[in-house]
Symmetry: C2
Subunit: 587 residues, 2 copies
């Protein structure tokens, strides 16, 4: 060992001990004949002192040190004259008796401080330097802790952690697969899993009863901000369970994590119907840290002579508490906000319940009495502000949902240290896509219809099929979907019907999922499961919106790892061995 | 929940309880009007009874059951009249009051018993049925337990589990990479990691101090029996350590696993020089469950007029205790064994120390006195058998090593429940390859030369370079290498020299490992690590030679997953999106 202690562990009790430390030079301060060095390692920072009484070679080496040099020092623990209460080692310092430079450092391209002066690109390229900063160290330590606690809980519940293969088979349904050419089987390809879905179902057929895995998944999607081509899931599956058993088991997991990682006691986790989430929050992942539900007022405002409302399929309102005194300018600002292309509203209507009575931008068309009815519907009181949007139903609900979140931000109703989890249940089984004129599975093709909807599932009317609900559920915290799952189909006939609805020919279903359909012939048990986005779960616990800081080596928005400069061309010998030719079409 | 209890938990104390169980029909026996069903789940087997008093529909459904049907039963726990002491639930049975078939099963293609009648290929294709058998269930449960205990130990030692990327960069040094074409970056490829080696070193540069990961690794090698294209490693790295610190830390891990998984207390783990392993055991992973060391007798037998010895570079002998009475036939058998192409000896010479004096196949050339000298050298005593091979030194040592293991097998000296771990240390840094006329790294290009050999490392004489020893070590148990690692180079100049010796141009070194060399500019700490083959570690603990049973979904010897039928062709749209063409050359 190059050290007797870490840079985070010495205390006043160690006074007069002879110690050896090793680490990085964080900061050097010279005060007259004295030099103070902050020595840093993963565990903390310890102050070193070199002064006029120090040996000549110690002084000489010290004078040549630079930031991020790796050094080893021997010395005696002394009590500091002026203590630093902000760090755990702040009571002591080391009087250096011996110093060795283990490795020099060039001047880093940005400062290794909590708030670095480096831009995103630079910090990605020098990720090893960025990872030295406290916020990233804390993020990865949090992730480690989360992973251990996930396993502790699931192990205690008799789950087995079972590794499923990464070299599997390409299945075009869903997102795009990354593929891996096989050299031994020329012209053939493996695919990297988008999730271990079929394998965990196979494990249930095999009788493993309770499975989990913290597992990497891969999706070759066009990247958006904060999407990664590889990401990590907590993947789980159980047999002989109904939906309520899964919700209760994984509410238990969430409770365990909140308690053991954040020391937060969760209240009971409420359940909300998907239909209610859309109706009251305009999205399927409502942030219920604050109320401000959407109220439909379509019927209240119809036939008022105000053509905008008269022609709208849907009119909805939200009530911003205590915002009745909003100025013209503040309301204009909100109007501009909803008119941005990301939201796409054509305008915003308001009703203010001020001290001087009810005022609105639609006074011309509505009596005070009518406006009061709207106020009653939205449960607005004196001093509140009502905001109204109208148009196509789903789209307008979604806009109101976005406006609600924006108001939540502006009003400080979305504190990062407050957690409001809930389950969304009873999702539709299918989404209809107008462009391709077909149904897509809202969750995935293995999700079971609700037993009471099985007749509609076998109907040949699109209307019936579209109204089938699924035994599917999402786990949502603070407006972020952290996990989702479903009770699976375990009946071969039902699964065949599902593939049929999704437009698979029997041959395509057989070639892609034949192994699962075959497995269902040999005694498949009822089963269901869930998967949590682990990166996002960690970011949520860390109080961050961005997953990137919670991944040690993330890729940028073009899917590149700029530190190692990958992807990159490979040589022709490799291509030939793989029986491949690169063939770039001009676009 | 479909059940109140599992099939493994009911005991006599549950007598008279009303319970609900769910599981698979393992066996049906009819005895007159009574039907006994063994109901199986992951946790055990419970006996169900249907008799003449049972309701008609229960009798009817029971009469239609088949093997591997999934059923749910309600009934009362009764004490058995004839108890089964071989299973934990053997005191009770369930008098069935209600029975539901949850899913039927076709007749399985092989029996789901501890010893199945299915061949390897069939069992691979129906892996989900094979996985229902006890030996595989136990193997995967053992693997789960191992993984949890590995994490428990390393977490307690302040290691952080950090996930490294799977989509990295192809580096032709070492085994062949699997590559992943990038769609977004046309003509470019990621590679799947052969190990997270460079990333864990980068994490040390980033100051993470102690890292581990149970991680999948990929090698596109021509498969041999019991090699898998994807396999799992326990991957670890530490900073500010010397070799002895690493050995002691991971001896601790081994001790923890043996104790907590197998309840075996390990003695101290001895260390053996690589040179001694080759000299005394003819291989770098000696099985020291038994002694039978190799003795070199080259000088004792030279110039005897026996040309075979006279012309041999090396002659060596092993002594098989108490085998002095081996018959002609037994010795012929051993002779045939060493002459097989896998061993490749041209013959086997013996000396028997029997009751009627010393007898040998070389009596013509050696006096009894000379033979006695050989016996003394090998520490043979009356009743023992000495076996002798000669030829090129390394090859002959290796043959003697193989013969030693074979004798160990025949003499029952290699019990699976006995464990003899050891460290092999001081490996050579390089291997010379005659074919390509260059040095290869024996461990990998990041392994540090021993400090005392650094001068030879900079020499331009191949003889010097070839004699450089490495700070490298292997962890060996019962003749199996379970892990290996090294102290790494952390000096940029030393690393450059390493690449130079391995025949990299500066440009190639820069393009493949530039990020690591750059990282070394900014304060790399001294560091080292180790990686254990997790599949093999599990197989060793399970008492098996084969890793395949310890992997849920292994591939066959052609790298195929025959259950899902992968790899497989992908469609042209996918290929076009990836800017690739399949181009199979006739061979």
């Amino acid at each position: 060992m190059y050290r007797t202690h870490t840079c985070g562990e010495l205390r006043i009790q160690n006074k007069a001990n002879k110690v050896t430390l090793a680490g990085w030079v964080q900061r050097i301060r010279e005060l007259g004949a004295m030099t103070f060095i902050d020595l840093r390692d993963r565990y903390g920072i310890t102050q070193l002192v070199v002064d006029e009484k120090s040996a000549d070679d110690v002084k000489k080496i010290t004078s040549e040190l630079g930031r991020e040099f790796v050094i080893r020092v021997e010395g005696e623990v002394k009590e500091r004259s002026s203590k630093n209460t902000r760090i755990d080692t702040g009571d002591i310092e080391i009087a250096v008796e011996n110093i060795t430079v283990l490795n020099k450092s060039d001047l880093p391209p940005f400062t290794i401080e909590d708030n670095s002066d480096g831009g995103d690109d630079l910090r990605m390229k020098y990720r090893y330097l960025d990872l030295r900063r406290n916020p990233l160290k804390q993020a990865l330590a949090l992730r480690h802790k989360m992973a251990q606690e996930v396993r502790k809980y699931l192990d205690s519940q008799n789950f087995l952690e079972i590794e499923t293969p990464y070299l599997i088979k390409s299945t075009p349904e869903g997102a795009r697969d990354f593929v891996v050419p096989s050299r031994v089987n020329a012209g053939e390809f493996y695919a990297l899993p988008q999730s271990p879905q079929t394998f965990k179902q196979i494990l249930m057929v095999a009788g493993y009863d309770r499975y989990f895995q913290i597992v990497r998944c891969f999706r070759d999607e066009d990247l958006r901000a904060d999407r990664q081509p590889e990401f990590t899931q907590i993947d789980c599956e159980m047999s002989f369970v109904e939906q309520k058993d899964i919700l209760s088991m994984f509410e238990g997991l969430a409770r365990h994590l909140f308690k053991n990682v954040l020391n937060v006691e969760l209240d009971n986790v409420p359940q909300m119907l998907y239909a209610d989430a859309m109706k009251y929050y305009g999205c399927d992942k409502p942030d219920i840290r604050f109320d401000m539900k959407i109220s439909e007022i379509t019927e209240l405002v119809k036939n008022s002579g105000f053509s905008v409302f008269d022609n709208a399929e849907y009119t909805g309102a939200i009530c911003a508490k205590n915002c009745g005194a909003y100025t013209r300018r503040q309301i204009d600002e909100l109007t501009e906000w909803v008119k941005r292309p990301q939201i796409g509203a054509s305008g915003l209507i308001y009703i203010k319940l001020g001290e001087d009575g009810i005022k609105s931008s639609i006074d011309k068309f509505f009596t005070t009495e009518q406006l009061q009815k709207i106020a009653d519907k939205t449960e607005a009181q004196n001093g509140d502000l009502i905001l109204i949007l109208c148009g196509k139903k789903t789209k307008t609900q979604s806009m109101l949902g976005s406006l609600r979140l924006e108001l939540g931000n502006r009003l400080g109703l979305r504190a990062v240290n407050k957690f409001a989890p809930l389950w969304i249940v009873d999702f539709p089984l299918f989404e209809w896509d107008d462009e391709t004129q077909r149904f897509y599975a809202m969750h995935h093709p293995f999700t079971s219809p609700k037993p009471e909807d099985v007749n509609k599932f076998y109907s040949n009317k699109n209307e019936d099929i579209g109204s089938v609900n699924a035994n599917a559920y999402d786990f949502v915290v603070n407006g972020v979907e952290l996990g989702g799952g479903s009770i699976r189909i375990f009946d071969r006939k039902l699964q065949q019907r599902m593939f049929e609805i999704l437009g698979f020919t029997p041959e395509a279903a057989e070639s892609q999922f034949g192994f699962l359909m075959n497995a269902f012939k040999y005694g498949a048990p009822p089963h269901g499961g869930i998967a949590f986005g682990f990166d996002r779960f960690c970011a949520m616990f860390g109080g961050s919106d961005s997953i990137r800081d919670y991944i040690a080596f993330p890729k940028n928005n073009s899917g590149r790892d700029v530190m190692i400069d990958s992807p990159s061309p490979i040589d022709n010998v490799q291509l030939e061995e793989l029986s491949l030719k690169v063939d770039i079409k001009k676009k």
